[in-house]
Amino acid sequence: MMKLKQLESYLGSLQQFSNPKVDLEQYPTGPHIASRLLYTAENSFGDISGKVVADFGCGCGTLGLASALLGAEYVVGIDIDSQSLETASLNASDLELDLNLIWCDIKNLKWKGKMVDTVVMNPPFGTRKKGSDMDFLVAALKVASQAVYSLHKTSTRDHVKRTALRDFNAKSADVLCELRFDVPQMYKFHKKKEIDIAVDLWRFVP
């Protein structure tokens, strides 16, 4: 099995958004967070290797490619933005990995049954458009048969837990750890050089 540091360094070599779009909250998932999310999913729960994994809102493909690097058998990446999908596709070719991309709005996703074992995602935090992270979560819980890994702002922890268990019928909803999400200064409305947001790494069982 690939070492954590090695995974992180592969992910560090990926191309990121060349032209981030504010309304889609396109923040790159940094290699530090992405490698820890996937490493935990694989090492502690066996949710990646040999599985069908979907990366919701895949952007440039970081989480999906990390899944492939850890031995996922089939990885699907879905995004609403065609430029991101193009970059994801280039990143996949650079690493000689297969990423099955779909151009789709997660809100309008309709799949037959539960073909996917595990969903991994870094949803928009919903700061620009309220509730968009929960739109992702409800869609993920519908298609995954085994687990959903997701990042949500720590400040919304109680809301996420309550909604997942009560409204989305998740069997369990657990915070695995708290991470710092460094959002580099990418947009004009960011005054500080770097904004450091506390986020929770969640594991949900559908």
């Binding site: 040999g50 099955n100 779909i102 789709c104 049954g113 539960k114």
Partner: protein, 122 residues
């Protein structure tokens, strides 16, 4: 787009009730070899809508899958090879997915199906 993806997708237009399977139209396709993993194939088999896979593989010019399949066939290496090839080695590069109910065309370009909806379809 590989055929496992095709087996997941359903027409997502509002009001459509029989959106699966999407009919596959192929303009350009490629084959890419991948390692055969028998355990993976055995696990995924019960989730596969067989007829949809057979029709899609035929649209891609691969006629080798039997019309019907049952779990006991997974013991045959010959069957596994064909199942593996149809599910994971055939790629649609250019073409379209057609909604069985409305005839709406979802284009596939550079291997990526475009499932975005128009405003009046959501």
């Amino acid at each position: 787009m590989r055929l496992l993806t095709h087996n997941m997708l359903s027409s997502n237009i509002k009001g459509v009730t029989n959106g699966f399977p999407l009919r596959l139209q192929v303009e350009k396709s490629v084959e890419k070899e991948v390692d055969l993993n028998p355990d993976f194939l055995k696990n995924i088999f019960p989730k596969i809508e067989w007829k949809a896979l057979v029709d899609a593989s035929r649209a891609l010019g691969y006629p080798e899958l039997p019309d019907e399949a049952e779990p006991s066939m997974l013991d045959s290496h010959d069957f596994l090879k064909k199942f593996h090839h149809a599910l994971l080695e055939l790629h649609v590069e250019e073409g379209a997915l057609i909604c069985p109910e409305t005839g709406r065309n979802f284009p596939i370009s550079k291997g990526i199906p475009n499932m975005l909806l128009h405003e009046d379809e959501v």
